[in-house]
């Protein structure tokens, strides 16, 4: 019982990342009809926004501590962040401690800008090109982006911890009357799930209740007709691309305390997020979110010892197996529309 509860939580948490990435991918796909292999790179750039903010907050001046030596035997240079110097260790330290949540504020404009730049500078010219060309050019872009990040930040993972207040774990089992230690779950992962739910909700509300969203939804359904109404759908689609980039970026920012970010984390998620999108049904936003959570949960359950002892290695292939089964039984994924991406 507690094991099932735990794995459900894990599934929801994994699913959150899948769902957020797939959501952005589907937005781009549904509105622009572009297969964006660089979407994983956007996730990665978001994560490195957090790294950068944390580095900036940690900018330090050096003082020499003659009592200690460094690895060469020279007097040790001790670094003190400017922030702590300016605001005192109390408040300055708190700012540094909260660098990941603070990074959200910086990441949104940066990601929107990156999205605009990508769409206007590159993707725009590929609307009418075959999907294969789109794949090639965005894949090339993804490689370039990750190599640039690697050049500046190295290939090693960079630890980017959560604020102290949100570290550690919460005993959820006690809350529902189970034994202590039965259902222990990391606080930050709960935050991540809540954050993902918030973002998903916000995107849906935005599309559902604003005029802008209405036009975009109409455009997703039938681009030409909306264009005929004299609405500048292209401009709106550019904005959608910015939003999709921001969603991927925020998913990345918040992911950094869960796993130390590295330059290839985008590629790690890319294949999986495509599987998620396709299982959900190309062009269907609810489908992407649903499939994200579904696959996250299935993956978590597949890694339980009880399951693995019956089917060794099942956790290695579960996602792909489920994808195959769903695609064979439901031709267009869980919630896909007819005629999208079947040519």
């Amino acid at each position: 019982m507690d094991a099932i509860l735990l794995q459900t939580l894990n599934g929801l948490d994994k699913g959150s990342a899948y769902a957020l990435i797939a959501l952005g991918l589907t937005l781009i796909f549904g509105t622009l009809g572009v297969v964006n292999f660089a979407h994983g790179a956007l996730f990665m750039i978001g994560a490195f926004c957090a790294v950068t903010v944390s580095r900036i907050l940690n900018l330090s001046y050096e003082t020499v501590d003659p009592t200690k030596t460094d690895f060469l035997g020279n007097p040790l240079k001790v670094k003190t962040p400017y922030l702590e110097g300016w605001f005192g260790p109390e408040f300055g330290g708190a700012l540094i401690d909260w660098s990941v949540p603070l990074a959200i504020i910086f990441a949104i404009p940066i990601m929107v800008f990156v999205g605009f730049a990508m769409e206007r500078g590159l993707i725009k010219h590929f609307y009418k090109r075959p999907h294969a060309d789109q794949i090639l050019v965005t894949f090339g872009l993804a490689i370039v982006l990750q190599e640039v990040v690697k050049y500046f930040y190295g290939a090693n993972p960079i630890p980017t911890p959560a604020p102290d207040a949100l570290k550690g774990s919460a005993d959820l089992g006690v809350l529902i009357g189970l034994d202590p230690n039965a259902v222990i779950y990391p606080v930050w992962r709960l935050v991540y799930f809540g954050f993902a739910a918030l973002i998903v909700g916000a995107v849906f509300a935005f599309l559902q209740f604003t005029t802008f969203g209405m036009v975009v939804r109409a455009g997703m359904a039938d681009r030409e007709t909306v264009g005929l109404l004299g609405i500048n759908i292209d401009r709106r689609f550019t904005i959608m691309f910015g939003i999709a980039a921001a969603v991927a970026g925020l998913a990345g920012v918040m992911y950094t305390p869960i796993n130390s970010p590295n330059y290839h984390m985008g590629m790690d998620f890319l294949v999986l997020s495509f599987v998620v999108v396709v299982v959900g049904g190309m062009g269907s936003l609810p489908g992407a979110v649903l499939a994200g959570f579904l696959l996250g949960i299935l993956e978590s359950f597949a890694s339980m010892n009880e399951v693995k002892s019956i089917l060794p290695g099942i956790d290695q292939i579960i996602i792909y197996m489920v994808a195959i089964i769903i695609l064979l039984t439901r031709p267009r994924g869980l919630m896909g529309r007819k005629g999208v991406m079947e040519d």
């Binding site: 894990n10 994994k14 570290k167």
Partner: protein, 450 residues
């Protein structure tokens, strides 16, 4: 630096020579004209450094490359000579090897057996290297070692920790300076016993490929021998990035120690996730819950950040050692690159020096002569204290370090503290040990190619 052939005058000269020789009659030379593969004929000899330069281990590879370049400098008599000054063998005189200046070429293994073999082949076939050194995974090491055996050159392994490299996959042309999973286990077990007691229940998470199994088998055997129980061993996919679903059940399994048989990105993530779940803050069976990471590396420790505080693991070598060889190497490396070397860098440095020294002692670059010179070679002064290159399996035997994540690091490089230097006798095993392929494992015969 290494290849200064394209000077302006050089270009003109080669151009002229080219024009002249086009008319000369063609000569067919079968590869067998030489006594052995890539016998150096000119005034230089080429080493091949095959390290991961792209992919997750790129940083590890970069550090290996730094150390290899430094070793070449020292062999060629540039810089401060580093550990050559402390090395017990004095065959190298700082004027290259056997009167030849040492050059090097580099390749990218991408941490894939296929790509590693491709770049190794390119170095052998195109650049004519006499040895290959480097790498940061056992799969790659075994694949390239096999290739070098076939091609008839020497392979000086870099970071490879699987028992198989000098176990069932050992090769006459391959040599390993790095320690292995068995040694890790042998060194760690007594320390764990001392720190955590003999009544512990261990839960293993193991990367689902040969190295992971090899390490898990070794650790389980060593810890069980001192009274621990192995509650469970769960295999995790190599591609896994989020280990939450493997870690969540640990707390309720009755285990009070978690052993993470992971390396690289896997280790960084699984350890980070384990700390997130607050495992080390818990009490199980009336004891503090503990985590062990049997194989540490500086770079991965840096990647895991503060999560490694207080976590035990083992290493081949660390820059904090105080022997003369280590000090000389760290000083030299630190002056040049502004950072302390990692243990994989030290292995590659030592391997390059050892190869050059063996060639100098053997008086030839013939791989069989070099193999003979390395087999049973005892030396000191390269770090780790007295070391033996065992003839039976081409494995180095030396002290193994038990490390612990430092609680209060003073700098970004000061992530681990040295707990114990396990003496070599304690980590020595028989060459036909069951974990190393038993009696069936043989080196085969040395292949000089050609």
């Amino acid at each position: 630096m290494s290849k200064s052939t394209l000077t302006r005058r050089g270009v003109l000269k080669t151009g002229a020579v080219a024009g002249a020789t086009l008319a000369t009659p063609t000569i067919f030379t079968a590869g067998s004209a030489a006594a052995y593969t890539n016998e150096p004929t000119g005034s230089t000899v080429k080493f091949g450094f095959n390290v991961p330069q792209t992919g997750p281990y790129a940083e590890e590879g970069l550090d290996e490359l730094r150390a290899q370049e430094l070793a070449i400098e020292h062999i060629n008599g540039m810089g401060d000579g580093g550990a050559l000054n402390t090395f017990t063998s004095k065959a190298l005189g700082g004027d290259g090897v056997l009167g030849k200046k040492v050059e090097f070429v580099t390749g990218d293994t991408q941490t894939k057996s296929d790509a590693a073999r491709a770049s190794a082949k390119s170095m052998i076939e195109k650049d004519g290297v006499v040895m290959i050194n480097g790498g940061s995974s056992s799969g790659v090491a075994i694949a390239v070692q096999g290739l070098c055996q076939e091609a008839g050159i020497i392979f000086m392994a870099g970071l490879t920790h699987s028992n198989d490299t000098t176990g069932k996959d050992r090769k006459a042309n391959g040599f390993r300076h790095f320690f292995n999973a068995y040694m890790s286990a042998a060194a760690l077990a007594p320390v764990l016993n001392k720190e955590y007691g003999s009544d512990r229940r261990a839960y293993h998470l193991t990367a689902d490929y040969t190295w992971g199994w090899s390490q898990q088998e070794s650790i389980a055997a060593a810890t069980e021998a001192m009274g621990w129980q192995t509650v469970n061993n769960v295999l995790t996919p190599l591609a896994a990035t989020d280990f939450s679903s493997y870690i969540a059940p640990v707390l309720n399994s009755g285990a009070d120690v978690l052993v993470l048989n992971h390396y690289g990105g896997n280790m960084v993530n699984s350890l980070t996730n384990a700390i997130q779940f607050g495992l080390r803050d818990k009490q199980v069976n009336g004891k503090n819950f503990e985590i062990v990471v049997p194989l540490y590396s500086e770079l991965m420790a840096a990647g895991a950040g503060e999560n490694i505080k207080g976590v035990y693991g083992s290493m081949n070598w660390n820059w904090q050692l105080t022997d003369e060889g280590t000090k000389a190497f760290v000083q030299s490396f630190g002056q040049k690159y502004g950072r302390p070397p990692s243990n994989s860098a030290q292995t590659c440095y030592a391997q390059t020096i050892l190869y050059a020294d063996a060639a100098a002692r053997a008086g030839s670059f013939n791989p069989c002569a070099i193999a003979e010179a390395l087999e049973g070679f005892e030396f000191d002064g390269l770090g780790n204290g007295p070391t033996l290159y065992r003839a039976d399996d081409h494995q180095c035997f030396k002290d193994v370090l038990v490390m612990k994540g430092r609680d209060n690091p003073t700098s970004q490089y000061d992530t681990l503290e040295l707990v114990e230097k396990t003496p070599v006798a304690q980590v020595t095993y028989d060459a036909n040990h069951a974990m190393f392929g038993g009696d069936a494992a043989t080196l085969g015969t040395c292949n000089a190619g050609a």
